[in-house]
């Protein structure tokens, strides 16, 4: 049984969609309240640590997409990255923290809180990480935080 089949079998009852946009990438979307369960099942498959946690601000859909990228050091699994994503509301971004599933989410989640304001429930230290401790503006990676745009744009064709 290859990896794709295994993942489909394991996750088909909780995932809202499973896609394969590139040969080395498996994208699994779940609902917000099933994230813990989905993460545990991915760990059972062998993807035992995270490469990244990121948030993407989608103001048009009034949502923030939180994306976890899991990878593995095992020989059979290491060519693949599993992307687990879910959406939280933009005005009340709350998500269960996954640091008990993936211990190295500690700093990655804290950074996502810092940069996008996603509150991870159960995370022991949601403090400023990269931004200065007296930061009181909106989180900078949200799309409505504007910085000056530089530049000359050259047209094509």
């Amino acid at each position: 049984m290859n990896l794709r089949e295994k993942i489909e079998e394991k996750l088909k009852d909780i995932a809202t969609s499973i896609e394969y946009p590139r040969p080395d990438l498996i994208v699994i979307a779940v609902n917000r309240d099933r994230i813990m369960e989905a993460a545990q099942r991915i760990v059972e498959l062998g993807f035992d640590h995270l490469a990244s946690v990121e948030g993407v601000d989608l103001p048009k859909e009034n949502a923030i997409e939180v994306i976890y990228h899991a990878e593995s050091y095992e020989e059979e699994l290491r060519n693949t990255i599993v992307e687990l994503k879910t959406r939280v509301a933009r005005d009340d971004p709350k998500l269960q923290s996954l640091i008990n599933v993936w211990p190295n989410a500690l700093y990655l989640e804290r950074e996502t809180w810092d940069m996008l304001g996603v509150v991870f429930e159960g995370h022991p230290e949601l403090k400023r990480l990269l931004l200065p401790p007296w930061w009181d503006d909106i989180p900078p990676l949200r799309k409505d935080y504007k910085v000056k745009v530089e530049g000359i744009i050259v047209g094509t064709k």
Binding site: D24, Q40, I67, E71, V101, P103, N104, L131, G151
Partner: protein
């Protein structure tokens, strides 16, 4: 679900607070060795109970700025994160971009990328070893490491025109061709370095003082290394055979045979020795690249066609690429791509989300130092305070890279 080792350590700290015997030592941000980060070290007597890294002193907001720039302009931007290893860190971005655009890189360009990546890796390891030396007050290692690094910087300068900020890999190829006589000089540098590595062993790694400071200090077990997602030499020193060069198809690594060095002990000494092993492997790769490098164009056919014929002729004569105008506003189709590249410090991870406009919708970088940050918190616990510099030096942590 098992409790992570980190959660466990919180409890330990609370217990220690109860007895009121803990005191705090603040290190940094202006501190003796590399600077730009701060530690809050909590001690019980001379034993470290807890370390809290306080980073963000070099946070220059690259992810936000990348959203305001055209794709091609972000290459020099990300280069500044790890200026001592700049080809490797930009290569990840370029790879992700190439996946989005669906470009194939010509073989000669792939070999040239490999060449510069390995030169960078050696320079980066020498930088790390030099700093590890000064952390335990071994000035000779510092001076030697930094002095020998110059040789590799000079090679890189001959190839690209800049000491540190090469901006060498561009989508579809590289920016300039191999200069004349490069091969001889590279081989000379390799011969010199091989000699020097023997001296390093004599004066630093076999030195009883150094061994006493590093041996059996800060042991990272194999299981922990896997679960904490540690990358790079720190991971391989704990016995895990993983390297992004084996995983991701980039450069010419599929056509070159090389061993990924692994050590089993997982202590500070083996982390440092592993860097020496990697320098040897890198030099071997450089030899093979110079031997096997094929002839041909250094930019993908798709872009080469866009350059006016007159410019194309000068390009062939000088070996330097003139950017086609299209590069100013590359428009990848909507979608996402990830790329992993092995840097000197470990694996860098890129995730680009494109919405079809000339600027990326979101770029996510996770740099090796940011992932290895957990080590600085996890390893020193239980050791004496003076072991802390030794552990910090052996992890090869580079703050601008972690903060981005």
């Amino acid at each position: 679900m098992e409790q992570s080792s980190l959660t466990f350590r919180y409890k330990e700290l609370e217990r220690a607070w109860d007895g009121e015997k803990v005191y705090e030592v603040f290190i940094g941000p202006q501190h003796p060795a590399s600077g730009h980060m701060r530690f809050i070290v909590r001690l019980d007597g001379d034993i470290i109970v807890n370390v809290e890294p306080d980073i963000g002193y070099v946070h220059r907001t690259m992810e936000k700025l990348a959203e305001t720039k055209e794709y091609i302009k972000s290459i020099p931007l990300f280069e500044r994160a790890t200026i001592i290893d700049s080809n490797n860190i930009t290569l990840g971005y370029v790879r992700a971009l190439e996946k989005l655009l669906g470009i194939e890189v010509p073989p000669r360009a792939r070999y040239l990328r490999t060449l510069l990546s390995e030169i960078n890796r050696i320079a980066s390891h020498l930088y790390g070893l030099g700093l590890a030396g000064i952390f335990i007050n071994h000035s000779t290692m510092f001076m030697w490491g930094f002095g020998d690094r110059e040789i590799w910087l000079q090679l890189a300068e001959e190839l690209t025109g800049a000491r540190l900020t090469h901006t060498y890999s561009i989508p579809g190829g590289v920016r300039s061709d191999l200069p004349q006589d490069f091969k001889d000089r590279a081989l000379k540098a390799i011969r010199y370095m091989e000699r020097r590595l023997k001296d390093y062993m004599k004066i630093f790694f076999n030195n009883p003082v150094t061994v006493a400071r590093y041996k059996d200090i800060g042991i990272l077990k194999k299981e922990d290394a896997k679960r904490l997602g540690i990358v790079g030499p720190n991971l391989r020193a704990s016995g895990v055979r993983y390297d992004a060069r084996l995983v991701e198809d980039y450069g010419a690594y599929r056509e070159i045979d090389f061993e990924v060095p692994v050590r089993e002990e997982g202590d500070a000494l083996s982390r440092l020795l592993l860097r020496i092993d990697e320098i040897k492997i890198s030099m071997d790769i450089i030899r093979q690249v110079l031997e096997k490098i094929p002839d041909g164009p250094i930019l993908a056919e798709k872009y080469l066609r866009l350059i006016p014929p007159k410019l194309r002729k000068t390009m062939e004569e000088t070996g330097r690429v003139k950017f086609p105008g299209l590069f100013a506003s590359l428009r990848p189709p909507p979608g996402e791509a990830t790329a992993r590249v092995e840097m000197g410090h470990g694996e860098v991870f890129y995730h680009i989300i494109s919405d079809g406009s000339p600027k990326p919708y979101r770029v996510r970088i996770v740099t090796p130092s940011f992932r290895n940050l957990l080590l600085l918190r996890y390893l020193p616990v239980g050791h004496r305070f003076m072991d802390f510099p030794a552990i910090y030096g052996s992890v090869d942590y580079f703050p601008p890279e972690a903060d981005r």
